[in-house]
Subunit: 340 residues, 3 copies
């Protein structure tokens, strides 16, 4: 339970109406009810402020209402996310190391951690304060896990993986498995040992059943704030820049370099050794097979400039009509023999 | 071992030949042998009934043979599946709770269950009769698991997930991990807490290494009889209607609504907030980015009506020849200067 | 530590320079330093031999240098991989069976194995010498695991799976889950029991979070030397030929037959019952929906001959210009009424 005033202070906003209005939950516009705070970030919502059953509404700074208590903020969606966290994210309470877990003696484990049953921690591991390892997690030899990381059930870290602070890895995700490297010798595939590892920056979150392969040499790197969805594949030796967002089932091949703040939509893919700049957007199912400069939007298979891609797509869709038109017009031309 | 008569009664069919014919296995047409029952559902098979080594054959109602004992049924493939189950699916025998499992005291566990070693069951969980939890399964706080569910090794249920009766989850599948929701605040991605859960209806089966994300609010829902293959991604807030079938590696983005009896072929995908009707078929690798009405068949990237898509595809394939033809015909036209 | 001479003997090469040159690591060309061996397999590297800080360089047989000690070999990349293994792959040291593992009494386990905590081995399993089962591995009833296999954390083998020698399965991979087989009975999906299993040949390696489904009858088969990347789906009843390489997120539907030495690039897929010959290359994101003969290269959706596909793609990319050209030229033709 918070007052509207307390929430306004939490997100740096301004209360319009009674600052002591009590808020006990956060709910979407359509389903919010009494004592709920809701969000009206877009016109379609804030033009109907009187209709929501919510007790109060987060709105942009210039939006007003006749009766409804409002929380005016610069970035309504950001404020909504922050307040939702306030209500729903429980503070960490260390439960210690379960006697049903296996933790090697040769490890440095901070005092305030939670390690559940059936977790395996190999030798040489360092675990900082506030870390939660859920059941079935495997931490390989020599790994480092930063403050307040959460590794959900059945996550696997191979040897020597390094996680920054506040990294969240969802169930079934595998960090540091061997990169896919072979040399063909007359049909037979000779394995290239993958001697490197994976380094993951602060505040990275990775969805369920994703994979980040270890480097052949050195490290595969996810910079600070990278967010991967479920079923994402990151090949060996990749470097992914800060705050880049990668949606479900995307595949990034080996040795790809990606800049900051990029977005990869679902099922898109990048061929190996490609370099991608900052702020690039790759559309759904696109196949990037050459370098992309910063601030581009690309789509298609292979991916090209998205505006050109849309033009081509529109023409491709019209091909049946264009073909008919062309046939009609050719028939209307008196035929001439090719004189060669 | 069953007699043909017993099998006929099991599936509501009619025996042609000796009803006491003994059947000890079910096998495919090409490899069936003595005392085997096989299936001839299509002409290519039932026109060669004398050639199979099988002792008896399931056939459509109007198919006859000179010598071979037959089991005539209305739906031969359905009868085959039901009889194959009769021979191959062992009845559930409860083994109890392994002393090597961890089950929180504050749970309601039915008497006749099988909980294998290294299973973790958190507090507040309800498990009905006939449930099997294989090794490495994780059941989060407050989950409900209906009668006769089977959770194969290393399945993860996050907190508060609800499974109906007879749900089958194959290994590595993750139900209830966080939906992929962030708000960008000057590059930084602010997480939107995913406060909802997942509700899965009766008779749902999900393949290996699939993911169904929890809702931001409320529940992501898979209705009764939905079947997901391996590596399927279902985003947060989705509703999937009864008996819809989703083939391997399909990705359904957030807040998608899908009707009953749809089929999604491999590698297809749906963009967020799209609504899809009943009985829709989405072809291999298609990208659905707008609403689709019931009974449609769609294909392409983006997906359109499949018949139109096939026409376009045929023309695209002919482009090299059409281009040559066009070049030839243009050359045959006396060139005129553009007079503007 | 090895001398250059020892390494030359290991890979069948010839030393140019001091055979007693001591080598303590293997590193890439750009980052190699003192006492490192590196690789210069291509012109761009071996024309700059004097620039690397490496102590010695693996080169093709006809490449020379003024000062740098060289290891001349017929296949430089193969030699590099073999020498890298020599330095980086530790010999197997059996650690025995952890008291925290569960191994059924009715199993045949070789003496020299390593079975980590929280591994579950069901009854009737046979495990050969040199096998490592990492934490969280599940081995179903009746499985056979050949010599020197490594199953990384949280791998699942369903019942009766058979692995040859030196098979490597990375974390989260699932072998033998049910094939996706249903018969529709008025909307309701009736499951076809998957009564077969999976047989995996010697020297197969499978990446993380991949799935190979069990056959309906008989076995799904991966022949000797097959290499699958992460997130690969192999449907029921497939046969994959020797040394075929399948890159990340590829989906092979049920009952597909694939020959030897094929390569499937990322996100490609094959429809069910398709037959593919030997030495076939399937390009990124292609959708193979009919049989492909040996030695073909195919691409596109659906996949066709890659050269034709490239021609079509080039024309599709030029469509906006071709359309403008066509419009200009049609306008320049005196219009004629269609006289019908």
């Amino acid at each position: 339970m918070y007052t509207l005033q307390q929430l306004a202070e939490h997100v740096g906003g301004r209360v319009i109406g009674d600052p002591q209005t009590e808020i006990s939950r956060v709910r979407p516009f359509e389903t919010a009810g009494s004592r709920d705070l809701t969000l009206a970030a877009e016109k379609q919502y804030y033009e109907h402020l009187e209709e929501t059953q919510a007790t109060a509404v987060i709105v942009p700074q210039d939006v007003h209402s006749t009766h409804k208590p409002l929380l005016q903020v610069e970035k309504p969606k950001v404020a909504f996310a922050r307040i939702l966290s306030l209500f729903n994210v429980e503070p960490f309470e260390p439960k210690g190391i379960s006697p049903l877990a296996f933790v090697d003696d040769d490890c440095q484990i901070a005092e305030k951690v939670t390690i559940y049953p059936f977790v395996y921690v190999a030798k040489g591991v360092t675990i900082a304060e506030g870390v939660t390892l859920f059941p079935g997690v495997h931490v390989g030899i020599g790994c480092t896990i930063g403050e307040r990381c959460s590794l959900y059930p059945n996550v696997t870290l191979y040897d020597n993986v390094c996680l920054g602070a506040r990294v969240v890895l969802h169930s079934g995700t595998v960090i540091g498995s061997d990169g896919f490297g072979y040399v063909s010798d007359g049909g037979e595939q000779i394995k290239i040992p993958q001697t490197g590892t994976v380094a993951i920056g602060d505040d990275v979150e990775i969805g369920a059943n994703s994979c980040v392969d270890r480097a052949t040499f050195g490290s595969t790197v996810l910079d600070r704030g990278v967010k991967l969805d479920n079923h994402v594949h990151i090949g060996h030796n990749c470097k992914i820049g800060e705050n880049t967002v990668v949606v479900a089932q995307v595949g990034i091949s080996g040795s790809v370099e990606i800049g900051k703040n990029c977005v990869f939509a679902g099922h898109s893919g990048v061929a190996d050794h490609v370099k991608i700049g900052d702020e690039v957007k790759v559309m759904m199912k696109s196949a990037v097979n050459k370098d992309v400069s910063s601030n581009s939007v690309v789509s298609g298979q292979p991916a090209i400039d998205h505006r050109k891609s849309l033009k081509i797509q529109a023409l491709v869709r019209r091909l049946p009509e264009l073909y008919e038109e062309w046939k009609d017009s050719s028939e209307s031309i008196p035929e001439r023999k090719n004189e060669e």
